[in-house]
């Protein structure tokens, strides 16, 4: 039976992450930071990854991790979403870590599984930060391996990957590249020569994307054609499934903030929250948040247990939670009225994160299209 609840340990983890974020990551400081050259809060990330061990949750103990699962990582993402926290958790602790985890201890595929294990342990320990070099809009289940980067016979990489999440915070890139003998996964140090990581002016101020250009850049091959596609797919599926938990956290913040505001704000001599038109909108939003919690938990649990229903669970969660987070943030802006439209109020941080998350790892629409195949509801022909 799938466990859709939060365990006591998960609730304790949530409490410590929430305490850290409310102490170190109030919206004012995130707002102030997002226009500096340092959009990521490296100090916060260090504390989260190293001291709280949040980057190691899904990594087995024998591989240098905490031996928990992606269920716990999902709880961390809920809290990071609730705080719109500027940390590279998704890129490093979810996408790159899952890809390396899929390669862990798998030598003999023309790649260096031992190297993958070493990198995995350093990510889990919070010593290093990585990004998976795919556009953040990449989605699982397409069966297509990216062709943006070519590996030549000397093992160097050439090509450009656009809109990579968390690349600007990474010291290591995990790069899918196509070589003469097929697809592979490569490790590239961001200090390498002939590598440019150029941040884009990003819609999401708290998780910026960057373009990665490799021009004959030195790389170590971690996996070859046998394992690289499956590892990449696993990373994208896990990323899309866990992103639903972040979206849940975003929506919960937006709902809570809006309810609080509508109780406080008075117009026409009464609390705004006493108007039935607004009460009903919030009741509907609450209902969708409740659904999102169940859908996100189901996705996380099926991913954690290797349940064969995981692709359906992820598509459902991505579709529902992706729409919900945007709706919650849009309602938050609208129901705050003028103040919701100001740069000063944090609502826009959540709107921008929610809208970018809607595109990240497959739009809700694309996930529903994937679902059509998974549950045998085929599109019309022609």
């Amino acid at each position: 039976m799938t466990d859709l609840l939060y365990s006591e340990i998960e609730e304790e983890l949530r409490a410590s992450v929430r305490a850290l974020l409310s102490d170190r990551c109030p919206p004012e400081s995130t707002l102030a930071r997002c226009e500096t050259g340092e959009p990521y809060d490296r100090g916060l990330w260090q504390t989260l990854a190293r001291d709280l061990g949040a980057a190691s949750l899904a990594v087995p103990e024998e591989a240098g991790g905490a031996g928990a699962s992606v269920r716990e990582a999902a709880v961390v993402l809920e809290e990071l979403g609730r705080a719109a926290a500027p940390t590279p958790y998704l890129g490093s602790a979810v996408l790159a870590t899952t890809a390396l985890l899929a390669l862990e201890g798998t030598d003999g595929d023309g790649g260096d599984g031992g190297e993958a294990s070493k990198l995995l342990a350093s990510l889990a320990a919070g010593e290093r930060t990585a990004a998976l070099a795919v556009p953040l809009s990449a989605m699982p289940g397409t069966g297509a391996f990216p062709l943006a980067v070519r590996a030549d016979s000397a093992g160097t990489l050439t090509g450009t990957v656009t809109s990579v999440a968390d690349a600007a915070a990474a010291d290591l890139l995990i790069v899918p590249a196509e070589g003469r003998d097929g697809p592979g996964l490569y490790a590239v140090e961001t200090t390498a020569a002939a590598l440019a990581v150029v941040p884009r002016t990003s819609l999401d101020l708290t998780r910026p994307v960057a373009d990665v250009t490799l021009t004959g850049t030195a790389a170590r091959r971690l996996a070859g054609a046998e394992q690289a596609p499956a590892a990449l797919e696993r990373a994208l599926l896990t990323g899309a499934g866990l992103l639903a938990s972040e979206q849940l956290g975003i929506a919960e913040w937006c709902l809570t903030a809006t309810v609080a505001y509508l109780k406080d704000r008075r117009q026409f001599g009464r609390q705004l929250g006493s108007f039935q038109a607004l009460k009903h909108r919030l009741a509907d939003l609450w209902l969708e948040v409740v659904g999102a919690r169940a859908a996100a938990r189901y996705a996380a649990d099926t991913l954690a247990t290797g349940d064969p229903d995981a692709p359906v669970a992820v598509a459902v969660a991505a579709s529902h939670c992706g729409e919900l987070a945007v709706r919650a943030a849009e309602e938050c802006v609208q129901l705050h009225g003028g103040i919701g439209m100001t740069w000063e109020h944090p609502a826009h941080l959540y709107l921008k994160r929610a809208k970018a998350d809607q595109i990240a790892l497959g739009t809700p629409d694309r996930h529903r299209a994937a679902l059509a195949a998974l549950v045998d509801l085929p599109a019309p022909v022609g």
Binding site: T2, D3, L4, L5, V259, L262, K263, R270, Q271, G273, S274, Q276, K279, H280, L282, A283, D284, W286, L287, V290, G291, A292, R293, A294, A295, R297, Y298, V312, A315, V316, S319, H320, D365, R368, A369, L371, A372, V375, D376, L377, P378, A379, P380, V381
Partner: protein
């Protein structure tokens, strides 16, 4: 052997008792009613009820253990769909507020289905504002004399008993002057008339009460406390309507998905988008229900249940509407407008047109979606209550 009234919490003990029942009353050779009575007397009817009243004070979740054993043995069930009001609403209310004599008299034949129950709550002038009800009950010696009109009464034409709320004191504010009774539907002053719905059938009735005599011994709870007692009934109604456990693709989505799969020539891109959105919505609702049940089992009920019926109604309406549209020309026909008197209701029964029309009731019966949104906004989100200018006025002074 534990003392007679100790709660049974061990699933193996329940299995043992179920097997003992089956051994003593082989379903293959026992009259179904005799079997059901024996099951009740063995405490295996509703295991969370008390000893002596069809249960064993067991955790509610363990009912599944008993049901599985009995189903495997081919035992008859009590056809719960025929007596939904009795099982889902009257029984929990009688259990909570009834005297020992009332529990003894009513619960066993209710559970076995020998006596069907109905609910005399709503009135033409008291729908969402149920507490404004005008049916009067006037004390006369050991009895009460009831006059008034009730509506939306399902099963009234089959029912032996009704749960009834009536005004016993018009001089106090509306919530305070109501008393809760058990009404004998065979009383000569009870007249039941079919109420035909937009589906063509008459699943519900209007019930006219003229000089109906209800013994005071059939009062549930104190005089003037009927509103409080009714809350137990109504909370259970919402659970009964929206809280069933569902496998994936059960309910309306299953019907729409089946039509989609069987009829490729009907498919369009726009309907495909809506179908997939509906599939996601139905799956999210299913998971929400499952999560709610897990919370209840773990002993941590949350407020999530308040939204179950709201989500159910919206999905049922969207998906049934989608299916009629998908059917195209066939959607122009309807299976049968004949005034039928169904004993049970199946929201996913008959054909797409019926399902579409019947689903319109889902957002009205058992609390309208609008009232449910108010309840969520006020009780879950803590937003200000609707203005209630009538709540402190004596009932008889209310504008009508």
């Amino acid at each position: 052997m534990p003392p007679a009234n100790t709660p049974v919490t061990d699933p193996d003990e329940l299995r043992r008792r179920t097997q003992a029942l089956l051994a003593e009353h082989d379903p293959a050779v026992t009259e179904p009613l005799d079997f059901l009575r024996a099951r009740y007397d063995a405490g295996l009817a509703w295991v969370h009820f008390p000893h002596g009243h069809g249960g064993l004070d067991a955790p509610r979740a363990l009912q599944a253990v008993v049901d599985a054993e009995l189903a495997a043995a081919g035992a008859p069930d009590n056809d719960p769909g025929r007596n939904g009001i009795g099982l889902g609403m009257a029984a929990p209310t009688i259990l909570r507020y009834g005297t020992e004599e009332q529990k003894e008299r009513f619960l066993r034949p209710l559970w076995t289905g020998e006596e069907v129950w109905c609910q005399l709550f709503s009135e033409p002038g008291a729908g969402s504002d149920l507490a404004a009800l005008a049916t009067r009950a006037v004390r006369d010696g050991d009895s009460w004399v009831v006059d008034g009109q009730k509506v939306w009464t399902s099963s009234a034409h089959n029912a032996r008993w009704a749960i009834l709320i009536a005004r016993t004191d018009p001089d106090v504010p509306k919530h305070r002057g109501i008393t809760y009774f058990v009404c004998d539907m065979t009383d000569p002053g009870v007249e039941v008339r079919p109420l035909r719905q937009i589906t063509g059938e008459a699943e519900f009735n209007e019930v006219f009460l003229t000089g109906v005599r209800v013994p005071d011994a059939h009062r549930l709870g104190g005089v003037g406390e009927g509103w409080k007692v009714a809350q137990t009934t109504l909370n259970n109604e919402r659970v009964a309507i929206g809280g069933r456990r569902m496998p994936r693709e059960s309910g309306m989505i299953g019907k729409a998905a089946a039509t989609w799969r069987e009829r490729p020539e009907l498919r369009t891109h726009g309907l495909h988008q809506r179908l997939l959105s509906g599939w996601v919505g139905a799956e999210v609702a299913r998971l929400t229900g499952e999560r709610l049940r897990q919370q209840l089992t773990a002993g941590h009920p949350g407020p999530e249940g308040a939204g179950t019926k709201l989500a159910f109604a919206r999905l049922a309406q969207e998906l049934s509407g989608l299916e009629v549209e998908l059917l195209g020309e066939e959607g122009l026909s309807y299976d049968d407008w004949t005034l039928r008197r169904p004993e049970t209701v199946d929201f996913t029964g008959r054909e797409a047109g019926y399902r579409y029309l019947r689903a319109k009731g889902n957002s009205i019966e058992g609390g309208t979606s609008e009232v449910l949104r108010n309840i969520i906004a006020e009780r879950v989100l803590g937003l200000p209550a609707e203005p209630r200018t009538d709540k402190d006025l004596p009932w008889k002074e209310l504008a009508r």
